[in-house]
């Protein structure tokens, strides 16, 4: 049995930042377990720029952004294992993992940080009818083929879903010589960042059809075309609006799902909204000493925020290892309602929290000229005007410790949208 203070599952942006932060906060024996052949996670296939504007105040590509963290990790002499798959985590924090060189490993940790990232929603999970030929890829799979292996998965492309990876791949496939005919989006708004719609679709004259979906896939061996139809307000296809697009490829960018199979086995309480663990202000799950950060916790738009979150998780895990669980104060639940779908964290302890704490959340629809409001008990504390909020862009509010401590009798904090 190997022994470490902190074991981090995943060597992507979240795992890297968490490891570096834990080391900075005084923990020596840290191990990062990565299933792929190199550190960096999904960033390695994100060769476009736009990463790091918040963290480094410059525009980096995905591999460059990852590289900065990998350098820090190496400099801090933090141990890591590549090509290592974690198979199981037990409640007493014994991690079972496997790789070619060492076979099956058992590792006892004092704290665990979950940083496994997310996966893409597949065609099957979307119930798209039609044939099942070659030529249907999740946008991320196509991205890996193109950006890491140099292969073109298709020449005439229709993209379903306007998530960021889909938008980025519309541009990438165009640059590599494919023709992207259309991007269809089921919802009446895009799930991607505004800047990606401008830079990846508008700049290349690729049409975006909102409130449209794929209702049929033609082709028995390879995709020969797809039929799009407009959908009504209940997202059901409207008969008579079908339009056939001949193409050899359908890319799907219809949402990301945190990869929490290990977490569920471990008995971690999950949020049905985010499909990620429910955590407190220290990003600690219901299992003491097990923390979560990055896309395994909730899907982020910007890697900068993943790094920030992971840094906090690393810090709290280090505190847990060095000082034990701080049994002070009490947990106040944060309620998400009236257009706010969830918050991370789900609870906050005014005594344990930092001087300021960022609460991140997403809204359920596009709202214009609304207010983000925070109530301590029944009293409105924050009332911030927002010209527009959308599900595709994560929102945040900042809570202040000093202020929260004044409300020592409240049971709940409520985050909601208000029209006035």
């Amino acid at each position: 049995m190997l022994n470490y203070d902190i074991v981090i599952v995943g060597g992507g942006p979240a795992g890297l930042a968490a490891a570096i932060s834990a080391k900075k906060h005084g923990v020596e024996r840290i191990l990062v377990l990565e299933r792929d052949k190199e550190l960096g996670g999904i960033l390695n296939q994100c060769i476009h720029n736009g990463f790091g504007l918040h963290t480094f105040k410059e525009e980096l590509t995905g591999p460059e952004y990852a590289g900065r963290f990998i350098d820090q990790l190496l400099e801090a002499k933090i141990e890591y294992k590549l090509n290592t798959m974690v198979l199981h985590i037990s409640k007493d924090k014994i991690i079972t993992a496997m790789n070619r060189e060492e076979g099956i490993l058992e590792i006892q940790a004092k704290a665990v940080i979950l940083a496994m990232g997310c996966r893409e929603r597949s065609r099957g999970a979307l119930n798209i009818p039609g044939y099942r030929p070659a030529g249907i890829y999740s946008a991320g799979t196509a991205q890996r083929l193109v950006n890491m292996e140099g292969y073109l998965p298709g020449r005439e492309v229709v993209i379903l879903g306007s998530g960021d990876i889909g938008l980025i791949m519309a541009r990438r496939m165009t640059l590599e010589g494919a023709k992207v005919k259309v991007v269809a989006e089921l919802l009446p708004y895009s799930g991607g960042l505004k800047r990606n719609i401008v830079q990846c679709l508008n700049d290349f004259d690729i049409p975006l059809k909102l409130s449209h979906t794929v209702v049929d896939i033609k082709g028995k061996e390879r995709v020969e075309g797809v039929t799009l139809a407009q959908v009504d307000e209940n997202r059901r296809p409207i008969p008579g609006t079908e339009e056939f697009y001949s193409c050899d490829t359908l890319l799907l960018s219809c949402g990301l799902i945190p990869e929490n199979e290990l977490s569920r086995e471990l008995g971690i309480e999950m949020s049905p909204v985010t499909s990620g663990p429910l955590v407190n202000e220290s990003l600690e799950t219901n299992i003491e000493g097990v923390f979560a950060c990055g896309n395994v916790l909730h899907v982020h738009d910007l890697v900068d925020f993943v790094s920030q979150e992971a840094e906090a998780a690393g810090k709290h895990a280090a505190e847990y290892v060095l000082e034990g669980e701080k049994a002070v104060g009490r947990e106040i639940s944060i309620i998400a309602t009236d257009g706010v779908r969830y918050t991370v964290p789900k609870t906050i302890n005014p005594v344990r929290m930092e001087e300021e704490h960022v609460i991140r959340f997403r809204v359920g629809d596009v709202y214009k000229n609304c207010y983000v409001s925070v109530y301590f008990g029944t009293e409105r504390i924050i009332h911030r005007k927002r010209p527009i909020v959308a599900p595709g862009e994560m929102e945040q509010v900042v809570l202040k410790k000093a202020q929260l401590l004044e409300y020592d009798s409240i049971d709940t904090i409520t985050v909601k949208l208000e029209m006035e």
Binding site: R35, G130, R132, T141, E149, L152, D216
Partner: protein, 478 residues
């Protein structure tokens, strides 16, 4: 010159090939697809039926019960996944009870053992998620579930090891009858043979009608299915059918041998013998009906939907035998549900017919058993560690959702009739069959397939033919 040419490497053709490979005969299986198990055999309910459904006295009933009885032993000999989980036909309305009793009687007459009607309390104890409306059920402890790919591939591999030749990508186009032989014309040339076995699934009528004046007709009857994530495993433990009645015919809800939950099928008659497309209506119908026999079905956990075609013959009966007006041509037609269950008995019957016609002698060196692909998850920790030491590729996880290693994928490619495509690997190992539906593992599986087969990755297909995954390289046409 062959003694026997079998058309179709589905479960019936492969079972026949395996049974015939006991004898000193020169046998060839011709298959239009790139692999075994590519038609009806790959997309069905994966049920080992007890045998109460088929009409009394029918060949279907006889072979169903026989096949069911052979399955357990065969699954050990040929090492494919099978579980005798028991089946329940659920009666949702007191008014329908006479139908349940009739089914019970039919089953007893068909020779189904241990069959009995259970009342709600016992049913509820067996299946806690059973619908509130359920009043009683026909309980068949001999019902089971099987891996349809596993069984089909096992038959074919064992036949190949025993000397049967398999010709893939070989489509039959016609026949020539000579004095004492047949010429089977194909897209890959002519095959001379003394006997022809027509195990062509939904195409069996086409070939039958080429050689016989007594025409038969097979309708492709499409069934749509939804497969749910393994996290739903245990939602039901028995195979749950709905008794046809006030609430319609219903769809079945069953665990699979791999721990998923399967819901389906619909039944839609179509013309296209390749029409395995799902439709919005079909999936909507499934979702609407699936909740009738059970409550709280986690239908949102669907990881894929698919459709398969039943080879429905107009008389709803298995047509097995030598044709009177085409001697030496043996039909194995109309093999629809319970065809998968019956396959072992179908193979035995067809082989018996040919043995009697040829008076062939048994081989002394017939190999009756076959080892499947080693699943390291079934090993003890010590044995697994030892395996990795010897073959480190068993520690390299390729498919994360199903935890399938490079070692298993290499085994699937290198063994007899090994996998050539992504789907071939998937059906043999389950790599790509999990919740991400091959999103993560397909590029890596392509790499392994290309390396093992010594071809460029661009030549690797999803399922043969023109099902290419990669069509070129970046900027190759700019």
């Amino acid at each position: 010159m062959y003694d026997v040419v079998i058309i179709g490497a589905g479960v019936s053709g492969s079972a026949t090939a395996r049974e015939l490979s006991r004898y000193k005969l020169n046998i060839c299986v011709v298959e239009k697809e790139e692999d075994v198990c590519c038609g009806t055999s790959k997309a069905n309910s994966a049920i080992v039926h007890a045998g109460f459904d088929a009409a009394n006295g029918s060949l279907m009933a006889k072979l169903n019960v026989e096949g069911n009885q052979m399955m357990e032993q065969l699954s050990k000999e040929l090492d494919f996944p099978f579980q005798k989980n028991g089946s329940l036909v659920v009666c949702l309305n007191e008014a329908d009870r006479p139908n349940l009793e009739a089914l019970h009687e039919r089953g007893i007459k068909n020779g189904v053992k241990e069959l009995r009607i259970i009342e709600r309390d016992e049913l509820k104890a067996l299946e806690p998620n059973i619908a509130d409306e359920a009043v009683a059920a026909l309980y068949a402890p001999t019902g089971g579930i099987v891996c349809p790919f596993g069984m089909n591939i096992a038959f074919a591999e064992n036949a190949a090891v025993n000397g049967v030749a398999f010709r893939f990508d070989t489509e039959v186009t016609g026949f020539e009858k000579n004095e004492d032989n047949w010429v089977v014309k194909t897209t890959k040339g002519d095959f001379e043979t003394r006997y022809v076995v027509n195990a062509a699934g939904v195409y069996a009528d086409v070939f039958h009608n080429m050689v016989s004046d007594k025409k038969i007709h097979i309708t492709p009857r499409r069934g749509d299915y939804c497969l749910l994530d393994r996290t739903t495993g245990g939602f039901v433990s028995h195979t749950i059918f709905q008794l046809p009645g006030k609430f319609g015919k219903g769809v079945l809800v069953t665990p699979t041998v791999h721990g998923n939950t399967l819901v389906g099928p619909t039944a839609i008659d179509i013309d296209d013998k390749e029409g395995v497309n799902t439709t919005q209506e079909g999936i909507d119908e499934l979702i609407a009906k699936a909740g009738t026999t059970v409550k709280g079905l986690p239908i949102r956990q669907v990881i894929t939907s698919f459709a398969g075609l039943r080879a429905h013959e107009d008389g709803h009966e298995f047509l097995i035998g030598e044709l009177e007006d085409a001697k030496g041509f043996i039909d194995c037609a109309g093999i629809e549900s319970p065809g998968l269950t019956s396959a072992p008995a179908v193979g035995k019957m067809v082989a018996g017919i040919i043995r009697d016609l040829t008076d062939a002698k048994e081989k002394e060196d017939f190999i009756a058993t076959r080892k499947g692909i080693l699943n390291p998850k079934t090993l003890s920790k010590e044995a697994y560690a030892a395996l990795i030491k010897e073959k480190p590729e068993y520690a390299n996880v390729i498919c994360r959702c199903e935890t399938i290693t490079e070692g298993e994928i290499i085994d699937a490619i290198r063994r007899p009739l090994g996998a050539k495509s992504l789907d071939g690997v998937k059906r043999r190992t389950r790599a790509g069959m999990g919740r991400c539906q091959s999103g993560f593992c397909s590029p890596r599986t392509i790499e392994i397939l290309a390396r093992e087969r010594g071809v460029d990755p661009s030549e690797i297909t999803k399922s043969g033919g023109n099902s290419k995954i990669i069509v070129g390289t970046n900027k190759d046409r700019l």
